[in-house]
Symmetry: C2
Amino acid sequence: MTSSLPAGLRERKKAKTRLAIREHAIRLFEEQGYAATTVDQIAEAAEVSPSTFFRYFPTKEDVILVDDYDPQIVAAIKSQPSSVSPVTALVNGMKSVFLTMSEQEWESERRRQRIFQAVPELRARVMNQTVMAIDMLAEALAERDGKDADDLTCRVIAGAMVGVVVAITPPGNPNGFEPTDFTRIEQALTILEESFRLR
Amino acid sequence: MTSSLPAGLRERKKAKTRLAIREHAIRLFEEQGYAATTVDQIAEAAEVSPSTFFRYFPTKEDVILVDDYDPQIVAAIKSQPSSVSPVTALVNGMKSVFLTMSEQEWESERRRQRIFQAVPELRARVMNQTVMAIDMLAEALAERDGKDADDLTCRVIAGAMVGVVVAITPPGNPNGFEPTDFTRIEQALTILEESFRLR
DNA sequence: CTGCCACTTAAGAGTGACTGTCAATATAGC
DNA sequence: GCTATATTGACAGTCACTCTTAAGTGGCAG
């Protein structure tokens, strides 16, 4: 019950190597800072060659830049009936993902967030990822409501909701995203909700 | 009436060098592509040394990444009475900036946008800049309405409006931001407006 | 069990962005 | 003119990232 079904021995080895690189990378980033850590150091710690590092991650940034959660949230939104308002659907979707995370997952997420906050370069890429999420969200809303995939109103709602989340996500908090902060997001979305007449 | 008041000869020379670097850089980006253009090439074209390039622009990206407009829009918003709704204030602010731009400025802006669209790396930094603009906008709204600088409702409104603009800004259009597209943004913000009860 | 194929890896050379230092030159203020 | 300061170019060095080549390893057919 390690994870899913890594049939071949090759696949398992790859997954292990990938994980080893990421964990050593994050550890080194925490210990020495992001900029001060070289790819060579990460490769050495993970016991692979530097070129192998780049076979697993296209750039040094990507080693820490993986977001598994957005797609899960989008899926959770799609599964809700269109009788639920967009804001409620988003809040429910976020709850179903964040409130079922194990303490271990939270800890891992916290470590990543802390590094993001400290490195403007990484922050920029995370923000960009978030902006990309608007598209997915707009599509999910449209699908749920049986509208056109590029329906303008859906795009507006999706954009507004993501904008609110970004605006409220604690920029000063060095730890990023705590379960506590989640209530703040819910509160902010409620303010938006109260301003919505649509649907 | 060239621009402001470049008293010393030193200042004038600096401004000229800065402009020369930027213009040659943008021209080369258009001709050869962003990645294929080296800093050395830009420096040579602008007749300065590579080290001088980095004295004017901290990174290669920064040579094309200057946004003079956001602060102007924010200023225009602040100057409006609080009787005007946030959305209307934003639309008016954007109008006062974009509709008074000369054709030359539009052309220059189009060229930049075209390069942004083509280079994911630059897109990410622009998006990040846009997200940063939420803070400025939230502050401007709060100041205008005599509220606390970090008033939650103002942050929500600012986030939602910026989110909508980002969501609607033509991602497919290789030219980015045309006067025509501006009406689309206004339309989208109107949809949001109609959904606002606040103020 | 054995040899073959596809995939994965290490090693090394090369490119280009970016940093820091140092000396030479140009400018501004006196 | 003379001096403090600002700007510059030359140079060396680091590091992310790419590409090529050769060797190792798992999976599979004979």
